[in-house]
Symmetry: C4
Subunit: 234 residues, 4 copies
């Protein structure tokens, strides 16, 4: 009973987290909805120039969208290996979600400042939140994988190790972006964007052009498959 319990709980934590990720990423559009040009009726020339001047808002939007989207991918990547929950994991996950929820705020904050290379606070706060996000994610994974604490039995050491390796430098990278915000703010957003793409990559290496294995042993953790087994006459 407890095992299903846990399985159900894991699914729920993922579903709840999905909801928060999806809402936070969609709320990013509010930064445009609150732009001055909305609900006005300017002539074509004025509107065009107003729209062009939204480029910092757009850059911040794209960067944050990529950052949240990729964090969502990686959140799922590690949760596909986590099969048990404990209280600390749930609290670490809530902490991560709390940071994600704040992204629309820092994104709204940073826009107007990208045109002033000499103003750093907004960009520092913006990149600082991503640094915290990377640290929370780091903590989440290391807590779960420590002495194989909450991982399923299907996951091999090598696969767990590859995840560990990939995320090892995450906090460091975001620390560099954080530092870069002191030097040239717009550049730090660009690097931030590249980091997001970089963190999307390993996901592909793992999934690209898989073939469907035939032997039943590989078919443990999916609902479809214990069905398949049951349908294969023995």
């Amino acid at each position: 009973m407890e095992v299903q319990q846990n399985a159900k709980e894991t699914g729920r934590v993922e579903a709840f987290s999905d909801g928060v990720f999806a809402i936070a990423i969609t709320l990013l559009v509010l930064n445009f909805l609150e732009a001055d040009l909305v609900h006005k009726s300017l002539d074509d020339g004025e509107l065009l120039s107003e729209l062009i001047h939204l480029w910092p808002t757009l850059l911040a939007f794209v960067t944050s969208f990529a950052a949240i989207g990729v964090m969502w991918l990686n959140h799922h990547r590690i949760f596909s290996h986590i099969t048990r929950l404990d209280n600390n994991l749930i609290l670490l996950n809530l902490l991560l979600l709390m940071i994600v929820t704040l992204v629309p705020f820092t994104t709204a904050l940073v826009g107007p400042y990208l045109i002033y290379p000499d103003r750093h606070v907004a960009v520092i706060v913006y990149n600082g939140l991503y640094l915290l996000m990377a640290l929370a994610f780091h903590a989440l994974w290391h807590y779960a994988r420590h002495r194989h604490r909450l991982l399923g039995e299907m996951i091999d050491q090598q696969s767990a190790q590859s995840i560990t390796d990939q995320y090892r430098f995450g906090p460091l990278f975001y620390l560099l972006v954080f530092a870069l915000s002191w030097i040239y703010p717009p550049a730090s957003l660009g690097v931030n964007l590249l980091l997001a793409v970089f963190y999307a990559l390993p996901f592909s290496r793992k999934h690209k052009s898989e073939k469907i294995p035939q032997h039943p042993d590989t078919t443990q953790i999916s609902p479809e498959n214990d069905q398949q087994e049951k349908n294969v006459p023995r």
Copy 2:
């Protein structure tokens, strides 16, 4: 293991996409919430005329609601054939979702301009975003179906072809709408609306008047079944 992994990932990408679609479509109401008449107390005559003057907001709302709703339908239609993920597909999907997320902004933008047939920028931006959406959707499907890259084994060439045929002219149609925004903005929204309805149609052709097979072996409405069939030796 990888297969379930993928199956689970596909389900997650769909669930996350569903969330973004549902939130974006619901945020469209914000354009009304930010209308001037809200939180005031006008007398009946004033309020009535204020409400009547909201017609452009309503037209933009209905058009965007239909566009997002139908894009959601088609997103699911193709994902019901996509059984494997790779990094590029995930990034293309995030790109599509990013465009969808921007719709509430362009919808808020376009309203006030529909009463000025001589102002085109807002409507061009509005229809331009749908053109981008059609292109991203086009890319998503063609990437997935190219050399049957990520499609399941159950999907027959003919069915894949019919989808391809349906969407072949999508970008072209939205390009025409885009062009029309230069000529007569309100009309372009009308055509946009018709396009949405058109793209909803083939869905019905596929599903209308299905009969439920009588033999119990198909265990009525469970998604696992086409998998089971695969596994039952014939």
Copy 3:
């Protein structure tokens, strides 16, 4: 294959609809967030009286919350009987969701007018939207059950009939509420609230104190059950 296809699509339509219902019902809080007293710092006396003057906003909030919540219940009640989709059903469902999405707007609109018994437009628009919602829901159910078009085979005529009977007078009731908004606005909201509760009731009659039947025949339509069957040694 089509059957599963449809089953999957039904599940998706329900999941997407759930999302829209959940977001629309939660956005109702925006009416409070946009109240004047927020982000101010009044002394205790001022704040208290400001809060007391929010009673119309609260009444509108509670009424709308009940209306959407119960519409969600009934939406699920009928979808638990709908096992096939066609294009018209999907469009009717999108129409219903579009109306639901507008509720936060009419709710924001109606608040300030409840203190003026001689101002009717806002309340008429508010109740008018619910009339449209009732009509769309009516159409959705009647389209699905007409000549048993899209219903599963498990549903007995009597059960389908009981649903039909329950909803027969829905549009009429909301028409009466609509009429009542001309006479005494606050009362119409009260009746609206009673209607929501009334429409929640039959749900209970159906579900209260069910016992778990042991014979396998009753176990068709649930994913758990074809599993159960497979687990029963043959």
Copy 4:
């Protein structure tokens, strides 16, 4: 038929509730988006001091995030034992969700008042809502477990009792926090935060260091299993 019906309905009530919890918790960020400093371009010194002055908003945000997050955890904890629905349970659940939906409002309200130890109304309203939440949750659980009304057959008396014990003092604790708001508002928020953490704890005791059973018959992590067990003749 009814059993699956109920199972499906329980799942739907949980999914809908998850949606509302996830949206309400994410809308908390709106309090920052509406802060004065957003969409301005202040110099670094001004922005920094503006950000520092947001501490009450941040404290309210963290407290509410923890409160909603933990309420979500406990909502799931009890729903993992509830296997049947009736109308009253659904209405009690809607009542709980309505209270949760109001949290972003009281959170927006309380921020500015934390710097005035002599202003209590906002904090009283804030903590009062949590008192109502605790009472609604209390009612929900006691209604469900009364004479084992809606609980599954798998749950043992002791486990149900342990939940009852944990929540026995919930309303009392929130009553104390409520009282504390009269004495020193900021402290009451702190205690509120501690309560949230306290209510997260028992969850862990239940789940910490579970072992996965080795025998394949339990088909690892599928929620359907306790049902299967029921159906396997013993």
